[in-house]
């Protein structure tokens, strides 16, 4: 279970930092101290389902987002969550395939 808690925590940290929110701010929303949030993020303390729901709605995500082992699905055709690096990587692969075909 600890491994899963760590992954969920990692994901929470990632999203929190991405949104520019401090541990203190998230803690205030949830009713915990900054230290409490830090424990969640490190996977030291397990996140209760009710808290996960709150965290998800705070960041405008589905709770399952945090359960997907710290990773998100992206589909280039839907433009959701496709960032610059992954787009570049995908187009590089297309070029690679095209070059390979020519040979």
């Amino acid at each position: 279970m600890k491994e899963i808690s760590q992954k969920i925590g990692q994901k929470i940290k990632e999203v929190r930092e991405e949104k520019g929110i401090t541990q203190k701010q998230l803690g205030e929303y949830l009713g915990y101290s900054a230290m409490g949030v830090s424990y969640f993020e490190q996977g030291v303390r397990e996140v209760k389902v009710s808290d996960l729901q709150k965290i998800a709605s705070f960041f405008g995500k589905e709770p399952s987002f945090f359960l997907s082992a710290g990773l998100t699905i992206f589909r280039a055709d839907k433009n959701s969550g496709t960032d610059m690096e992954t787009s570049k990587s995908l187009s590089d692969f297309d070029k690679f395939l095209a070059r390979r075909k020519q040979k």
């Binding site: 997907s68 699905i73 055709d77 995908l90 692969f93």
Partner: protein
């Protein structure tokens, strides 16, 4: 076992019969090849585990990832292909071998397929009878992560 899982078990065992034979670990790349899919390794951004290019008959897999993870990625993408996902569209995504809780149903199905293909029911039962429940050893025999074999054993009610 619900009907969707039964269906996925059926498709994966057909795929195995087509090209897998009885060798372990399951030769996932060879099976993909039997369906006209070529596995191409590429130095993708770390976030991308693999992708399926249906039109070109290509499964791209991140060459920097661990071999065990690559195997699961290939099986996962083959799952999308054989389960008829993303008809006409390009599927690009991350896959990881321990994401049994993905929100998108097609991702769950593809993971289920990968699990069934890499750890066929009868093979798992046989190995468990032979080696008992040595997770470490079983994970090596099937070329999967310890977490993946554990999930499969739970699913097959062997633990």
């Amino acid at each position: 076992m619900n009907s969707q899982i039964k269906y996925i078990e059926k498709i994966s065992s057909q795929a195995l019969q087509k090209a897998g034979g009885s060798d372990l670990p399951v030769p996932v790349e060879k099976i993909a090849g039997a369906f006209g899919l070529e596995v191409v390794e590429f130095a993708f951004h770390n976030k991308i585990s693999g992708l399926l290019k249906k039109e070109q008959g290509v499964i791209g897999v991140n060459q920097t990832h661990h071999p065990v993870r690559k195997r699961f990625t290939i099986a996962h993408e083959l799952g999308h292909f054989l389960l008829g996902h993303g008809l006409g569209e390009e599927i690009q995504e991350e896959t990881i071998d321990d994401s049994f809780d993905k929100s998108h149903p097609q991702e769950r199905e593809a993971n289920q397929f990968a699990s069934c293909l890499l750890m066929p029911r009868e093979f798992v039962k046989k190995e468990v009878n032979k080696n008992s429940l040595d997770i470490e050893k079983l994970s090596k025999t099937f070329g999967v992560s310890k977490q993946a074999i554990t999930i499969r054993l739970l699913e097959l009610k062997l633990i």
